[in-house]
């Protein structure tokens, strides 16, 4: 019976992710929807892999419970269940649309990204207690916690959604300069000061470069939070 919950969680996440992809496609078209979806997988895999391999949490409670060799979930990216990454995608895309498109369309990028990050933390206050009490993932090791969920987890949610929001808005929706990276990007990719329309290959290069830089920053800050908290 308990493994049924894992299957419902996994298939449910895929189904909801499908709804989000369809909505993104209607709002922005296939290119943005594809960047958003595939980018979410690339964005979350390194951090999730690091969390699992350093023993912060585990996704293998249901391993072997359905059939011999069953790893706990059906689809994996390395050692991370794909549905976990779909969860990040659902939250980031929903938060992105709510604040950039609907509630704060005239605000500055940073303000919308900040609210998106906070809204993601709010959503995780629902998701994490339900998931961990059902053993969909298990937190390991001592840490300052709220309802059994380490505080640095919420720091991680905020940072990952906040930074990804900035990357998507400034790279995928339209190619805009990010001040802290502009010097390096001008040298590396010979970008001009004002870039609103760039080729798909340049957009992809910029997207990967920005994700790489911000991923390192996120890992550093979340690691620091886990040590302090």
């Amino acid at each position: 019976m308990i493994v049924a919950i894992a299957i419902i969680a996994e298939l449910g996440a895929f189904l909801i992710a499908g709804i989000v992809v369809y909505g993104l496609k209607k709002r922005y078209g296939w290119t943005v929807a594809s960047f958003f979806l595939l980018g979410s997988i690339l964005w979350t895999t390194p951090l999730e892999t690091l969390g699992i391999s350093t023993g912060s949490y585990s996704y293998s409670t249901f391993a072997g419970s359905l059939f011999p060799g069953y790893a706990g979930y059906l689809v994996w990216i390395g050692i991370v269940p794909l549905w976990i990454e779909m969860g990040w995608f659902i939250v980031s895309a929903s938060s992105f649309m709510i604040f950039h498109d609907v509630l704060l369309p005239r605000s500055k990028t940073l303000a919308a990204a900040l609210f998106a990050g906070l809204f993601a933390v709010d959503l995780d206050l629902m998701i994490d207690p339900v998931a961990s009490s059902n053993k969909l993932w298990v937190w390991l090791g001592p840490s300052l916690s709220i309802l059994g969920i380490p505080l640095y987890n919420y720091v991680g949610w905020f940072l990952l959604i906040f930074l990804y929001d900035i990357i998507i808005w400034n790279t995928v929706i339209a190619f805009r300069q990010i001040k802290v990276l502009s010097f390096v990007e001008r040298k590396l990719f010979s970008m001009k000061d004002s870039v609103s329309s760039v080729s798909l290959s340049k957009k992809l290069t910029g997207f990967l470069f920005r994700m790489f830089v911000f991923e390192i920053l996120a890992i550093f800050l979340i690691k620091a939070a886990s040590v302090v908290l």
């Binding site: 919950i5 895309a93 929903s94 498109d101 609907v102 059902n134």
Partner: protein, 84 residues
């Protein structure tokens, strides 16, 4: 009166954008909440008998955000219709 082709396309694109936002904000987030309640009911947390406070706080913030967003989209749609 039939609209010129380009104007017709423009109206369709705007409608598509609004539909896309509604699908993500209402469809996906409402599904997430329902999906979590199903999971919680099947496990040790029973939403209708022993809901953790964090869940209540979170739903209390999330639902107004969803409804404000859908209202904002509907209002924008009505304003656009008035101008056409």
């Amino acid at each position: 009166m039939a609209l010129p082709k380009s104007a017709e396309l423009e109206v369709k694109e705007k409608a598509d954008k609004e539909t896309g936002s509604r699908i993500v904000i209402f469809g996906a987030l409402a599904s997430v909440i329902l999906w979590l309640i199903v999971l919680a009911e099947g496990g040790p947390i029973k939403p209708f008998t022993g809901l953790p406070m964090s869940f209540l706080y979170s739903v209390g913030i999330t639902l107004p955000v969803i409804f404000l967003s859908v209202l904002a989209i509907a209002r924008t749609g009505r304003e656009k219709n008035k101008t056409h």
